[in-house]
Symmetry: D2
Subunit: 423 residues, 4 copies
Amino acid sequence: MRIPPGVDVPLTPRVRRLIDTAAFRRMAQISQLGLVSLVYPAANHTRQEHSLGVFLAAIEYLDRLAFDKRFTAAVTPQDAELLLAAALLHDVGHWPFGHPIEDLHLLQFPSHEEFAHRFIVAGEVADVLADDWNLDPAEVAALVAGDAHNGARRILRSLLSGPIDVDKIDYLMRDSLHAGVPYGRHFDRRRLVGSLCLNEAGDGLAITDKGKTAAEMMVFARYVMFSEVYWHHAVRAATAMLQRAFFLLRDVLDPDDLLMMTERPMIEELLAAAAEGPAGELLDGIFGPKRRLYKRLAQYSYFEEPDVYHRLARRPYTEQVQFAERIAATLAGALGRKVAAHEVLVDAPPTELEVDFDIEVFFPKRETYRRLGDISPVVRTLAQEQFDDYVKRVRVFVHPRIVVDARQVSDVNRRLAETIAGT
Amino acid sequence: MRIPPGVDVPLTPRVRRLIDTAAFRRMAQISQLGLVSLVYPAANHTRQEHSLGVFLAAIEYLDRLAFDKRFTAAVTPQDAELLLAAALLHDVGHWPFGHPIEDLHLLQFPSHEEFAHRFIVAGEVADVLADDWNLDPAEVAALVAGDAHNGARRILRSLLSGPIDVDKIDYLMRDSLHAGVPYGRHFDRRRLVGSLCLNEAGDGLAITDKGKTAAEMMVFARYVMFSEVYWHHAVRAATAMLQRAFFLLRDVLDPDDLLMMTERPMIEELLAAAAEGPAGELLDGIFGPKRRLYKRLAQYSYFEEPDVYHRLARRPYTEQVQFAERIAATLAGALGRKVAAHEVLVDAPPTELEVDFDIEVFFPKRETYRRLGDISPVVRTLAQEQFDDYVKRVRVFVHPRIVVDARQVSDVNRRLAETIAGT
Amino acid sequence: MRIPPGVDVPLTPRVRRLIDTAAFRRMAQISQLGLVSLVYPAANHTRQEHSLGVFLAAIEYLDRLAFDKRFTAAVTPQDAELLLAAALLHDVGHWPFGHPIEDLHLLQFPSHEEFAHRFIVAGEVADVLADDWNLDPAEVAALVAGDAHNGARRILRSLLSGPIDVDKIDYLMRDSLHAGVPYGRHFDRRRLVGSLCLNEAGDGLAITDKGKTAAEMMVFARYVMFSEVYWHHAVRAATAMLQRAFFLLRDVLDPDDLLMMTERPMIEELLAAAAEGPAGELLDGIFGPKRRLYKRLAQYSYFEEPDVYHRLARRPYTEQVQFAERIAATLAGALGRKVAAHEVLVDAPPTELEVDFDIEVFFPKRETYRRLGDISPVVRTLAQEQFDDYVKRVRVFVHPRIVVDARQVSDVNRRLAETIAGT
Amino acid sequence: MRIPPGVDVPLTPRVRRLIDTAAFRRMAQISQLGLVSLVYPAANHTRQEHSLGVFLAAIEYLDRLAFDKRFTAAVTPQDAELLLAAALLHDVGHWPFGHPIEDLHLLQFPSHEEFAHRFIVAGEVADVLADDWNLDPAEVAALVAGDAHNGARRILRSLLSGPIDVDKIDYLMRDSLHAGVPYGRHFDRRRLVGSLCLNEAGDGLAITDKGKTAAEMMVFARYVMFSEVYWHHAVRAATAMLQRAFFLLRDVLDPDDLLMMTERPMIEELLAAAAEGPAGELLDGIFGPKRRLYKRLAQYSYFEEPDVYHRLARRPYTEQVQFAERIAATLAGALGRKVAAHEVLVDAPPTELEVDFDIEVFFPKRETYRRLGDISPVVRTLAQEQFDDYVKRVRVFVHPRIVVDARQVSDVNRRLAETIAGT
């Protein structure tokens, strides 16, 4: 079975049986990038395709690490099979628009890694894992969910989720390819994989010095993908619209039903639940026959407007809604007309930081390990604690029907800043 | 707005308004390749993306032909704008799974080019064309539908639909890129477009001798795409399943409703109409949670089994069903058990031939025009009347639950051949 | 060590020692395509780079064939090492402008495969092969020279030189890449290599049906490379000029000295030997400060002018010179002025045919072997005996100072044809 | 005429005449990267190919800037033609191994930009410029040499030599492509060129905010190319060897003769001048039949060993030689044997800094110009004054015959540091 960029997924019978399960095929109806296709119309690839790509990456990593004696001493062939199954199934618990919904931190909604549990430990997938793969489904689910109770598991976990894991190495490339941008491809994957080794503690992935530049390139690729794609202002406008609608509907939606759905049915369900209300207007602008995204009224960066930025970034979602409501009131006053609460949205970096991109670099000649951030100015700049602050802006979006007038409110920037400051 | 492979669609306001119409955005919910994604799981690109690509190709063709005096004498700037609008809208009448359904030639179902009429001549699209493009919507619809009542229109029509039209030059590349195969890319598009000119009669597209090799490469690319993708045996199995289900349901479906639908709703509609019957079983194997495609029992090529091939190829669909029923009866007899009619499918080249790929080649030094097929052995082999026969096989598919036994029927090939021969 | 398109040559110590020999490094001063860079100015890659690429291809082929039980039964690990060494050294006997010079069939000049012997069986290379590779240098030289005295050697030989050998799979790609053309890349090398197996007789390379399309693509890629690059008319003009100059100088050149030279020194040597005479004028037009290539006066193809074509194609070089002299006399008469013998050149397909591209295709389900030409119309058209006739034209070139007048000779085509026919 | 990556150079008659001059064709015998091919064996592309690429880039830049009203108000069509001619000829004064030789700052050797003068203002090139291009050859030479006596010339100069000039945009891509590395390609050239505009002062190139990410990518691409290719340690070893040999021979070489030579003759001339002496040994290790590069004994970076670094970086070449001699003496003492002066080389960043990569970014909505370094953390890190310090290390190389012993000198690092510190 072939997937871009021209690679063949080796379909042994047990792989075939796993990817033919309903749980796996469900991912064929969930797009990888969700609302990004409103801005990059070709970005319609699915979690199914990505999962196959992650499986291939896992094979590639294991092929390389098979030459590493410390790795083979710690990780048994059975462990390696566990990783392969987890690679195929790592996103099986994802529901449509997963990240925007998770970022709301609604109590009744689980994380997608935990949610994977329900697809893995019972039913068809569990049967295939037990019968054909000779694996304990609970172990696969635990690895996917992040459990790492011993050294080998910690190594596997770092392959599955870490600075240079099999997930990122696939999605940066795949998202770029389908979207039609060069940003996340071309980071010399071959060189990077060829340099994989274990870290000094022996419980996680590291690279040798041969892979240093390739790792810097991957850090940079990720930075550009966030700047130009994942946190593109129009993508964020749509995201903020969906989040507010979902927030408004949170008590009428049934998580158990909803999160099992594929993309189109979930959209239908949301539209039905929202009906004519504010949530309906928000959803119609994204999913209705006419594209009608909210527009930027203001934008704040960590560097240029640190005060406003810190006031809004990393707050619980309910606070962001309150800020938006206060801004709506300010605009209503200035414009001398009603501004509905849902006509103003605040979008800001969520409470969780992206994964730290720093890893250890092994210098065989000197037999020392150094942190990548200590030896690379690019990584120090981009990949450490400030990454989120660089690429994730705070933005105020308003409904297109008020944006022209709102922009002409005299001294609008000062008024917004004061409103946000609460003075 | 960026689409693969890294090109920017120039979004002037009038283009923006056209692509923001509901009719255009509907194409974002219809995949370009339909059932192909069952075999090439990454091939999920949409008719919307393709339409943007065709628009870009039309700009590229016009930019080149602006240097051709015969072209600019015949085609006015207004004509060129008509072409651009038609390029954007050429697929607006497509419904999901368009080609398989059209190939059934059901009386109550129109062609998608005619169907485009209803999206273009009235409503939002018509308003944008009239107000922003200063074009007569009826003219755009006529060009899309194939009407070419004078010389300029014939030229435009040959750009829109012909051996090297803006449609093919986009879809060969785009289908390859998203599917992850090299076959339809890399035919030196730059060289081909750089060689465009008018034919000897002055009423259609031709190429100069500089583009001869690029044209041969495009013919070959198309051949490989048909062999490996469009007529891949498993794609055809799924296609045959959908066609039979649609045929069975033909009297309970309402074309007016159905053809306006996007992909997911149409699938839901078909599943609902089919319920538990034979059509339901066929559709469930394609669209249900478990992939369960029919299997090849026999395959006949033009070259190796010409008798059987000609008996089945290019027949009306109803005859194909009758052949399948006779084969089902034969198998039932041989197996000593019931074989339902819908458990056997015959798939064969449809009645229409693919467009002839032959075009004129202009030799400026000698000031002569020659037919490409006369000067290129590859084109003579591949692009003329026999193209369909090379890449489109006749196949007999059976339900997976009988395939093992059916293959073990003694002398099964002879029995099938006799059944088909009617002896 | 990295070479395009982004692959790393694994430099084990024994490989390092082999490629650091003077014999191997000599190839760094010999360009792969010689005179092609007069037309494709970026095509300056060397035989050294190509040899590294062939070595990589040999590793790739062996990695695949290691899964084939018939192969591993016939070919020992020691045989495989022999192949790797021969892959690295297969062009070590090449001198600059090898093919044009070989095509003259001058008695005192050997073939480059035989000439390789002198670089391999004694001296530094021989020492490395014996000491580090544990191989008999004479065996390596024999394999390079084409000797295949038993089954295993015949298999190795078919990997090294045959329809889909490690040489072609590299040079088609590499020549395309550096020249800047898409033609010889993109034939799905991964798929082709993934389908390698042994032929029915067990003494040569074949492919399984999975590789059929990739093999067709490679045949087509080769056809396009010959049409557009290797037999480009201006490349052939330069080639004909060099051949005539070399022919004129044949008795004053010392093969023993000359063929050991790298490219620049050989050019200097030729220029020095030619001095002011006719050979000097020919060489100056190619290698002098001013580019001054001969121009086409006439061109004959197998299909359109079969009589003239067959009169000139595949003749010994001395006959071609006689034809050219007769044409010079005809032109002198028609123009009423002196036309020197060396002002007219005849270029025609050489006596040897290109290697037949036909191979066996294995169908595992049916356990049968078929010839590719029997099941592929493209291959039947392009890859069999007529390949040379399609892409290699017969051409008459004349010095630029007479071409304008010569083209205006009344009835020039008829006069040329009569001169060639000898009537 | 086609060059990689698949683009056609438009050969109008006047371009054809310019590139057929002996001065232009001389560049076909001078490689772009000189000694880099010792490490990246495929990097054999020539200054001729690069010059054609720069010409194409200049056309692309002008096509874009033709839409910029401030540009067209300042730059006349005649100015634009001047730029095109200068683009073709910008490297015409380059001699082989230009940069290493220039970095020695020998009094009798000019800069290559000044040297271009002699190829442009008289003779064949001057005739073509005057007759076919209607340009004053002196003006072309002045523009190439960096003269910018008014606003329009300053603009042209910034297109020809500046942070995002037509030279860099070509060589980063071309060097990557031929070397076989991804590093300098893929920086979204289309987006970058599409964002070109004038700076606030109106006398130089800038970009709009749409090109910000593409500019960051280009800065990063340049950083990686320096790290991995141009300042690769083995490339620098060969460079240091050549520089020392040239320095030793400086009084016996005739600049007037030498700098007119192409690459192979210059190498022959250097080898002849050096004969058996120290320079001869150095040159033989680079250009002789056996590759024998000096080895790293020590390496100092700006960040980890700032004291030693600053002691050696940016010193006149004569001082570097003195440091090397002192190190040779130290090693001789420690090893108890003679160490010749030329057996130790110090390689350090030259006195000139690379061009500053910072440019202005125009924000149309706010109508403001900002410096790229002020709004991009990556550029602040990489593209400003410290760029050289990041990628250019100070290194001590020694002859391979002493490296093993030298590395085992007890406390060798401390002794070297003390020697360099002069204590």
